[in-house]
């Protein structure tokens, strides 16, 4: 039997490379609006239905860049750490209604957004991973599907790194 439920996977991202000397307030704010405000807004507008159903899943797509030494990304890293923090806090507020909130941290993934990167740049990334290949969208989807399943009903407020073993937390 299948029951009605709502899952929100928020993966919008904005990531211009700007050194701290080049970064302006407009870019900072647009990055936060896209990468972090959006999580708040998704919760604000989807929570009421989830609460009514006593079931829901929020997945915030963060980034393994929070643990990497990549210059020019201070604004982006701030929002992606914010995503982890928001999911942790949201998890506390919604747990009583059967709702979980988790963050997924992909690495550099083979999408249209990364297409402009040269093969050398891509290779330089995946050579730092334990699994020596480019991350594909399917790699991320597997983790998302698990976290949105009932098998993961006791997992909430967590940050799951899905990057082939590049960034290790412990």
């Amino acid at each position: 039997m299948w029951a009605r439920s709502i899952i929100v996977v928020n993966n919008a991202g904005y990531f211009p490379n700007r050194s701290i000397d080049e970064l302006d307030l407009a870019t900072w704010r647009k990055t936060f609006a896209t990468n972090l405000d959006s999580h708040f807004l998704s919760a604000k507008y989807f929570l009421p239905t989830m609460r009514k159903k006593k079931w829901g899943r929020f997945i915030g797509i963060s980034s393994n860049m929070v643990g990497l030494a990549i210059p020019g990304m201070s604004h982006y890293i701030a929002t992606k750490m914010g995503t982890i923090g928001f999911m942790r806090g949201l998890a506390n507020d919604v747990a009583g209604d059967g709702i979980t909130a988790n963050a997924v941290l992909p690495g550099l993934t083979n999408t249209l957004a990364t297409a402009p990167q040269s093969e050398e740049q891509r290779r330089a990334t995946w050579e730092q991973q334990a699994i020596k290949r480019m991350e594909e969208p399917e790699d991320v989807t597997g983790a998302v599907l698990f976290l949105t399943s009932d098998d993961a009903s006791f997992i909430t407020g967590q940050a799951i790194v899905v990057d082939g073993g590049q960034y290790r937390i412990g």
Partner: protein
């Protein structure tokens, strides 16, 4: 990684295949992007809908939530 990008990578083509495998005949999926991602919705299958959503705009989130009520909620839970 110089320059700007504004994107919504999942569900992309490969992800769409996984979503279709998991949710075929069971789920209503709403895929969103700055422009309605019709191709992604087509790859997921007939239960997918494409919706324009600028995630920075509160009113558009309100509309998206209303659209969920229109198409029915996502089914993914097995009991």
């Amino acid at each position: 990684m110089k320059g700007e990008s504004h994107w919504s990578p999942v569900p992309a083509k490969a992800s769409a295949r996984r979503l279709r495998w998991r949710w075929q005949n069971a789920a209503q999926v709403i895929a969103t992007d700055l422009a309605p991602p019709h191709e992604t919705a087509r790859r997921i299958g007939p239960t997918a809908h494409a919706l324009q959503l600028d995630v920075t705009q509160e009113e558009q989130w309100r509309s998206a939530a209303a659209r969920i009520r229109d198409v029915g909620e996502v089914d993914n839970r097995r009991e």
